[in-house]
């Protein structure tokens, strides 16, 4: 028997390594785990509300059951809020078809007079409603802005970010919620594509 030349194991290792790499990256469904996301059994229902959007239509959170909702409490006078908004615009654009809805709750005292020009200037592509003290109260007394809730497809709060969030934490949280528990979404007409976008 010929002795194994040292280049052979190296070549085998190389083939396996390259194969594993290609296998992993060709998969469009690799799982993202966001450290901050609560386990399902620890999530509490997100309180429902009825608030008006820019067209005067009443928006209920319950309208979004089956969707992953990024609920952002913000204000035009809040610098950290303004920093996050472009991230949310991008998430809405990229993940809407997969079942994400970003919903902004403005806490501006002057309401649409301040908010409307800002939405136009920033080209905000998601729905915004004007919040009130009652809504802040039912969400635990939201006092610091921004405060961002990620709500799963069953309407439960999976994570709360108080203050300026880490962008990757938000993106990973959204991704994890989009990937998990698709049953509620499958029961509805707006079924997200099953082949998930690689990240």
């Amino acid at each position: 028997m010929l002795p194994l030349r040292p280049t052979v194991p190296i070549a085998i290792f190389g083939v396996l390594a390259v194969g594993s790499f290609l296998l992993f990256h060709s998969s469009s469904t690799h799982t993202v785990r966001a450290a901050s996301i609560k386990p399902v059994d620890e999530r509490k229902p997100a309180p429902d509300f009825a608030l008006k959007d820019i067209d005067g239509r009443t928006v209920h959170l319950s309208d979004y059951k089956g969707k992953v909702v990024l609920l952002d409490f913000w204000a035009t006078w809040c610098g950290p809020c303004r920093m996050e908004i472009p991230w949310f615009i991008e998430l809405q654009r990229e993940d809407k078809d997969r079942g994400l809805e970003v919903l902004g709750v403005s806490m501006d005292d002057n309401g649409w007079a301040d908010v409307k020009p800002f939405l136009a200037e920033m080209k905000v592509n998601y729905r915004v409603v004007i919040g009130d003290d009652k809504t802040a109260e039912i969400y635990g007394g939201v006092d610091s802005l921004p405060t961002t809730f990620l709500i799963d497809r069953d309407g439960r709060i999976a994570v709360v970010h108080i203050g300026l969030a880490n962008r990757k934490d938000i993106e990973d949280g959204v991704e994890q919620l989009l990937q998990s528990n698709p049953k509620a979404a499958l029961d509805r007409p707006f079924v997200p594509a099953l082949s998930l976008r690689p990240r």
Binding site: W77, G79, C81, I162
Partner: protein, 144 residues
Amino acid sequence: MCLPFLFAQGSGHLTVGTIQKVSGKRNEAVEAKIPVSIDPGFHVNSDKPSEDYLIPLKVKWTSTGALEVGELRFPKPASLNMAGEEKPLSVFEGSFDIVARFKVAADAPAGPGSAAGKLSYQACNAKMCFPPKTVDISVPYQVN
């Protein structure tokens, strides 16, 4: 330095200390110092914020009795660079005085009184902001 703040009032990251009594004769100018303290790590927008959308620190008199309102002098603001902001923010931090000038009215009756007003502000730290707040302020005075 700390004593005025023992009797201070505030409602979230800013405290207004006790304003010392001012006294003067008719037609005289008087100055009241409004001692303000911001919690460490926090800031409030100055009286002239760097952006239109920011809420300034303001003092508005609601009743001044025998005093006629003069100018307000704010301290020099600090420039604060914040992530995501195009230009530095114009802010107040730490402890400082706002100086309120008055003139004792020509027909002021001799004796004590007080001027009342409201100080409004909006506070933030590096990560979050808090809703605008208003604190009642009162300047005790004595017309000699």
